[in-house]
Amino acid sequence: MSRVGLRLSGVACVRGGRLLFRGVDLAMEPGGSALLKGPNGIGKSSLMRICAGLLPAAAGTVERHGRVALADERLALDMEQPLRAALAFWARLDRAAPEALDRAMAAMALEPLADVPVRMLSTGQRRRAALARVIAGGAPVWLLDEPGNGLDDAALGLLGEAVAGHIGRGGIVIAASHQPLPLVTPVVLAMADYLAAAEDGV
């Protein structure tokens, strides 16, 4: 991985004419991790989309170096396709080798489901499929929006191993999660702080 990093400075987000948060600063280096905390609707997912470049920041700057992979609540897999074929489409776009996809599916314990159509999968299995896409893609920056939702204890363990391995290889993980993730001294962003700043400033 060549130069990898993610830097936010003074980022603000406006949704539907309402200022959600502002003044978010974050600097991630290889091997770094961040955890977004806060109640529902405070803007964790919006911040994720700003990090991913899908949403423009209302103020501030976002610098990205290296590819970004996002796992959010939307699965983006073709429902009628068998799981492996649906994931293989994204692996092709990621220019990932078929072996990388096999390893990613193994990491999420998805091999027994390879021939099952995506629409038959349960909530937790779908979440694991989305994580397998992130792992297979080989992007250095992972953005995980509630990655533990719907996962059982065994799957949470697999998620923990995948995240720890990625950080160990010099990747970056930014997660919004209620479940404990094995992040080594993550930067904790309590989103409520930025909300308070927004209210003071107005």
Partner: protein
Amino acid sequence: MRLLLTLAARDLRQALQSAGLWLPVAFLLLVASLYPFAVGPDAALLRRTGGGMLWIAALLASLLPVDRLVAPDRDAGVLDQIALRGIGEEMVVLARLAAHWAGFGPALMIATLPAAALLKLDGGTIGLLELGLLIGTPALAALGLLVATLTAGLRSSGALSGLLALPLAVPLLIFGAGTLGDGSGAALKFLGAASLLLVAITPIAGGAAIRAGRE
């Protein structure tokens, strides 16, 4: 190029699986079989008006799959995941245009043959009709896709699609149906020009619409 093929192959597979192919074909045949009941079995009248009727049917048939072209992928997050991989929206729309045309253009042209027989069209008219459809169906596909990208995030997009598409479809209809009664070939050239224009602007305008609709 490989990227374009990967995207287009997936789009075509999705279109075939969602029965998007058979709906326009069935619609065209339905119109062609109902029309003689409405105007009567007078062969001369059918022959004179049938070609134009088939152009109207082809235009309306192309609008049928509009609500499935973009909105489901937008809602499922597919368009966002593609954007994350640094692939431009113009490329997405171009691939989808190719897949959409391949899914319904040739099928519509084949369905026109039995439909033309039902309307008692003669051989020369059928030839002109097929040639016109060959030139015109890419434009019909582009128009449907353009409208689909513009209405992807809206509720009740179906009714709005028709209203948006019809003004842009009028030149296609005039020149398309015009080829049938025109010996000079001028209408065919105008049809080609209108078709090129729509095919050229759709990836650019559609890509911008997808970007603007992202939230």
